[in-house]
């Protein structure tokens, strides 16, 4: 049954996310944030390093959509809509950076860190395969981060650094951990499940993405 397969996969994905969240909590940057040692330079470094992945996000999603075959047009539409919604988000990071006292050219000219390089290469590699359904696992991780972690981080940065909201729009705007988000994801899973090999690929892709994403955050040094 599709429902059982969706529930099984979601459960495995939730376990991967829990592990991911714990790994993030233990990174030096997030430790600084939760221990009240976070400085403006840390926030600048955070935005610079997030921008790389955010900028690439809509691009790999578009590529993935273009590789989805005609048996799954609905999923293709969903990914394309997601890509459209998100493909300018990196501009938000730039305006946040400037509003927080940074220079535009500094964030635009920054290089990817080791984790961002690995994450980006992995995403484009996966997106280039035919019917790259495993990337639903990557979306679970990255969108889960947006819906669960971004806002609490934003509020902590605000509390710690006393920045105005217009310097925190990316973190604060990503917003609410609502039930609707989960519903939409379930619908996407139901478009490709039940299929044991696909389910396994989704969970594996989530695991790899989580590890590389955490590496990206680990690599941030102010």
């Amino acid at each position: 049954m599709a429902d059982d397969a969706v529930a099984d996969t979601l459960r495995k994905l939730a376990v991967v996310f829990a592990d991911f969240e714990q790994r993030l909590e233990a990174t030096p940057l997030i430790r600084k944030l939760t221990r009240g040692r976070f400085e403006l330079a840390d926030y600048h470094a955070f935005l610079i390093n997030l921008r790389q992945q955010v900028k690439d996000g809509a691009l790999w999603m578009s590529r993935a959509a273009s590789n989805i075959g005609e048996d799954h047009l609905e999923l293709r539409s969903t990914l394309m809509k997601h890509a459209v919604t998100e493909h300018r988000d990196f501009r938000l990071l730039e305006t946040d950076f400037v509003a927080a006292g940074g220079r535009l050219e500094d964030i635009q000219q920054a290089k990817k860190n080791v984790g961002s390089e690995a994450l980006s290469a992995w995403m484009f590699h996966e997106a280039s395969k035919p019917d790259p359904f495993g990337l639903l696992g990557a979306m679970w991780i990255i969108e889960g981060l947006g819906s669960i972690k971004a806002k609490p981080w934003g509020l902590k940065v605000k509390e710690r650094l006393g920045l105005p909201d217009d310097a925190l729009r990316f973190l604060l705007y990503h917003g609410d951990n609502d039930v609707g988000h989960m519903e939409e994801f379930r619908e996407m899973l139901a478009m490709v499940l039940p299929d044991e090999a696909v389910a396994e690929r989704i969970v594996t892709t989530a695991r790899v993405t989580a590890r590389l994403y955490a590496l990206q955050i680990e690599e941030i040094a102010a």
Partner: protein
């Protein structure tokens, strides 16, 4: 097939006991017992009570702050009640494992004080100390003692005397009270959450002859302390708690008290993350087949289903890992949150009630925010 390993015995809970000090105290009167900081009503108390859903609790403190019992005294009474329930006496006990968040003394261990209050002769004892999940640490110790044949009768007991930590003297004149006389939320919330009491279970290698026993299937504990800073703690200030050099004993008792380091504190933002970590471990147990939610007939959880936020319940439902609320059994609203003792107080009420039937599977879950831990105990009614 020959069995070259140690011969392990089945172990049964043959007695349960609880001790709740004094009369039940309703929400309207609780501040009379724990006291008012600089004489003023708490500003966060109502909110805390709405969230935890507790309507009554017991205190070993009288309204004037007089101490009516000790943690050890209450724990000993629960052990005696559990032994009595099993048809045994103190002289039959061979191993006593105790759990608590804080004993009456700093040193020596809680089990020594409980043994003394119990008036027990020479005995093997073990003191387990953490927060709520210490109940299952002690249970696991006692279970293994009987299982491997080291003891014929073992007791796992847990006691808490939280209220004496909540008296104004723990906070007044410290950095936890602001210039307007308001106590910091991270300290005040717990004052409206935790209360006093004790519970105990007795384990033997055979079920009782009459009445129902509980066969212990397994006990699993997972601590994630290596990944998280303390979430509920006493002994350091909030800002410095990740640094062990900040411990109260390094600063000395007077300075530590002034800094607000000698009070129970909770980080609520971290708690949200810790709750997700508990859920992660739960989902792992379901996913690996260790727990089949459909095969659990009763869930006794040291956490209220109503306190779980909508998105957590949604996650559990969507992952086929929710145990429907009608299978939950709790005494939290009536007996309060008694830390490590809660699970045994609940089990005692459960076994004395109408619900358990032979063959039912009973799952105990004890999450501990302390430094992110969760324990599970699977039982079968026999």
């Amino acid at each position: 097939m020959s069995d070259s390993g140690p011969r392990l015995r089945d172990v049964y809970i043959t007695g349960v006991g609880a001790h709740l000090p004094g009369p039940a105290v309703g929400n309207d009167r609780m501040e009379d017992h724990i006291g008012r900081i600089h004489g003023r009503d708490s500003v966060v108390g109502r909110r805390a009570l709405r969230w935890n859903g507790i309507r009554a609790r017991h205190y070993a403190l009288a309204t004037d702050g007089t101490v009516r019992d000790s943690n050890a005294g209450m724990t000993a009474k629960a052990v005696a009640a559990a032994l009595d329930d099993a048809g045994l006496g103190v002289g039959d006990l061979r191993h006593l494992a105790t759990a608590t968040t804080q004993g009456d003394y700093l040193v020596p261990g809680h089990a020594t004080a409980v043994q003394a209050e119990l008036g027990a002769g020479p005995l093997e004892i073990a003191s387990y100390q953490s927060v709520c999940a210490s109940a299952l640490m002690a249970a696991k110790g006692a279970w293994l003692q009987v299982r491997v044949g080291e003891a014929e009768v073992a007791a796992a007991a847990a006691g808490e005397f939280s209220s004496r930590w909540f008296r104004p003297g723990f906070y007044e004149g410290t950095a936890l009270v602001d210039p307007k006389g308001r106590l910091a939320t991270e300290a005040d919330f717990l004052r409206f959450t935790l209360s006093d009491g004790a519970g105990a279970v007795v384990m033997e290698p055979h079920p009782r002859e009459q009445g129902l026993s509980l066969k212990v299937e397994w006990i699993d504990l997972t601590s994630l302390a290596g990944l998280f800073d303390p979430c509920m703690w006493a002994g350091s200030t909030r800002a410095d708690r990740a640094d062990m050099a900040s411990a109260w004993s390094h600063a000395g008792p007077t300075e530590a008290h002034a800094a607000g380091a000698v009070a129970l504190l909770q980080d609520f933002e971290l708690l949200k993350i810790v709750i997700r970590a508990w859920i992660g471990i739960w989902l792992e147990k379901v996913d690996s087949g260790r727990i089949d939610p459909d095969r659990v007939d009763h869930l006794l959880c040291h956490y209220s289903a109503r306190s779980l936020r909508e998105e957590i319940v949604g996650l559990l439902e969507n992952t086929a890992a929710m145990i429907p609320e009608e299978k939950w059994f709790t005494t939290l609203p009536e007996t309060g949150n008694i830390g490590s003792a809660s699970i045994w107080v609940m089990l005692e009420a459960f076994m004395k009630g109408e619900r358990p039937k032979r063959g039912d599977r009973v799952l105990l879950i004890v999450p501990e925010s302390g430094r992110a831990m969760i324990g599970f105990m699977m039982l079968e009614v026999v």
